[in-house]
Amino acid sequence: MEGSVPAIRMRDITKTFGPTVANDRVKLDIYRGEILALLGENGSGKTTLMNMLSGIYFPDAGQIFVEDKEVSIRSPKDAYDLGIGMIHQHFKLVDVLTAAENIILGMTGKGRLDMKAVDDKIREICSLYGFDVDPKQKIYDMSVSQKQTVEIVKVLYRGAEILILDEPTAVLTPQETDKLFSVLRNMRNDGKAIVIITHKLHEVEEISDRVVVLRRGQNVGDVPTKETNAAEMTNMMVGRSVSLNINRPEPKNQKPRLVVENLTVKDIDGVTKLSDVSFTANSGEILGIAGISGCGQRELLEAIAGLQCVESGSVAYINPETEAKIELIGKDPCAISSMGVALSFVPEDRLGMGLVGNMDLTDNMMLRSYRCGNSPFADRKSPNSLAKRVVCELEVNTPGVSTPVRKLSGGNVQKVLVGREISSAPSVLMTAYAVRGLDINSSYTIYDLINRQKEQGVAVIFVGEDLDVLLELCDRILVLCGGKVSGIVDGRSADKRDVGMMMTKLGGEAGK
């Protein structure tokens, strides 16, 4: 790409949020006909930097040039006018509107809407790049991957020449990811500039032509993908060498700890969420749970934790000391823990169920311990020291333990939550999406923590979304498909494609 004029040049871009410096004099070039991967840990400022291109934030200092002309992007509309379109990690779609209505939202044009012309243009774009969108479908009826497609069509409809995708594969199955990548390649070959923000190194290697690494808000590397490798990229991201292999110790001393039989769960509308699920979780083992999001993972964990009403079936907990079987169904979460049954639960909705956003770290630690002791006053000392320990051990990036949790970045919130759950020394640890949105370094910290629990004889149930991780970390993997068990495979020998098939079809491909 040497010699050609960059579509966008960013020079000395600085952005601060209060005392936090998100971007520090960043220089970045984006070229047409190239896929650029923007790599970096959580809080390294990738999304902030791109938000300044898409008009969500305005830089404190620095210059942005589009096609060699200095521009000031003050709003998303300015960005669209310059041909810049961003697909955010959290989709920006209005649920009750149709795909077509979402796509034309905010555009200028004739006051009266001509939906037929809009629909036609959408179909034209779809056939050009190979998308599949029904313009009349409501967003709330769509799957995650369909919503993402609508987002991409939305920016193309507005004539975007520069597309920015913020962690587009985080929510997709391997098959959907392949489809997305082939569309991205089509667009690159069409002369568009594409920026993809990601933490997944193998995706960087697969799709990108050039990679830029951010660390603590600074650009620390800009290399063609061909000339680098995963280890080098990780070193740049973290600033020191990190081993990339997930440690998987052999399970020791396995004993059944949790026996789930014929579990069936219906939601409040009477829709079956789990149907006839049976499995055993052993001590000293990590049982992975794979599946497309919304396939009953949440309901399964909640049913075991006593948060979900169960239609039929049983969940038996086997006490490690007495080996007595205790039925958990029908007990409330408090009763379950007071019986000596330790279930730690990391809900997938971090700020919704796990932590209280407006409370500080200490208070959030207290949510687990406030019932302890006989004094009418709550003990704030031990949660405070626990908070300090979690901050220190898990390297939580926070101004202090009295900062409201909602002010931390996603990865740091997750560390606080996982740290608190593990601190209660459980004998069954359930985690859902424990590393969602976490960068490599923090993810490995979490994997290490989970492995340590496993070695201590805890039965770990790990609901994950990244198949590569599940296959590297888990001893066994239970695959859910539409609330049913599609199969249980061995983590050491299973093939990623097969598991992907099992996620979309019961039992995988017929005859295979």
Partner: protein, 323 residues
């Protein structure tokens, strides 16, 4: 038969007051602003229109009906818009709590209106002595071609104006680009913002225009129903709260609000036409519009259709750089 006709007519008159209030509030709520200041804004619209007409008719030797009508309308719209502007500034720019701001505005509006209403009564020489006969007459005149057409004779032009406004509002929300943008602002302002819609502008405009429309309800009540006088009996506040309930009843759809408002009007007056009611049992009948609203809420929640739900970000402030 005459009883039924007279109930129908009362329903149309009262329904129109409620319809104006509800239409304004639908526009406002579609932008995500839950303005509980509707009764206060209707008060403001009512008193300002009355004051404008009063001032004009006491200054002019022979008042012109059309001019009086225009002055009343202009004053009413200006005062109500000002109320909407206060609400907008507090909730949008300063991001104050919407419920508190709205309720405060209701108290403020009724206070201001009754203060000036009382003053005008004094200036006119006593309660019920305010005379804006010419202007009020212009509001109450039956449209020429409808004279003597059953129940329609005796209804002023504002009745039809409200229906036309409802149709325009419905067309605007569902068929125009700006209407789509407005709906998006109320559902998901971050998305609308990312799509290039100026959230602040839409919220301000929808709230102020909505307030102006709501204010017309107060004006119609003062000019038509109480014939251009002032009474601080809380009549406007009652209808204002009914307008807020009607928004829910109509499921945020202007066209549904038309028949809903007449139903509310009829239910409001039903006790008057049922023989043998005591003062206390009357009150039971006055609850009917609210009971109907509760029933609608129950039915709507049971049917769980996403389109019948309130705008998703109703009542929430929006700040682009919120993390």
């Amino acid at each position: 038969m005459t009883q039924a006709l007279s109930l129908l007519q009362a329903a149309l008159v009262f329904g129109t007051v409620i319809l104006f209030g509800a239409l304004g509030e639908i526009l406002t709520e579609k932008s995500g602003n839950l303005n509980l200041g509707v009764p206060g804004i209707m008060y403001l619209g009512g008193i300002a229109g009355l004051a404008g007409a009063f001032w004009y008719e006491s200054a002019a030797a022979s008042p012109n009906a059309l001019l009086g009508l225009l002055i009343a309308l202009a004053c009413s719209v200006a005062a109500a818009t000002l109320g909407g502007l206060i609400y907008s500034f507090l909730t949008i720019t300063l991001r104050a709590n919407q419920n508190v701001t709205g309720l405060t505005l209701t108290i403020f509006g009724s206070g201001v209106a009754n203060l000036f209403g009382g003053d005008m009564n004094k200036m006119a020489g006593g309660v019920g002595q305010i005379s804006v006969a010419t202007t009020s007459g212009a509001f109450r005149d039956t449209l020429p071609f409808l004279n003597g057409v059953g129940v329609l004779s005796g209804l002023g032009f504002m009745v039809y104006f409200a229906i036309i406004l409802a149709i325009i509002a419905s067309y605007f929300l569902n068929r125009t680009r700006k209407g789509l943008n407005l709906r998006a602002v109320g559902e998901n302002p971050a998305t609308a913002d990312a799509g290039g819609v100026s959230v602040t502008r839409y919220k301000y405009l929808a709230t102020c225009v909505g307030a102006a429309v709501s204010g017309l309800g107060g004006l119609y009540y003062v000019m038509d129903y109480i014939k251009g006088t002032w009474a601080n009996d809380g009549g406007i506040a009652n209808l204002g709260w009914l307008a807020v309930a009607l928004v829910i009843f109509a499921r945020w759809k202007p066209l549904q609000a038309i028949w809903g408002s007449y139903l509310f009007g009829a239910l409001f007056w039903l006790y008057f036409y049922i023989p043998g009611l005591t003062r206390s049992s009357q009150e039971l009948f006055k609850m009917l519009p609210y009971i109907v609203t509760i029933i609608v809420l129950i039915v709507v929640s049971m049917r769980k259709k996403r389109e019948n739900q309130p705008p998703a970000s109703l009542g929430l402030p929006y700040f682009r750089e919120e993390r």
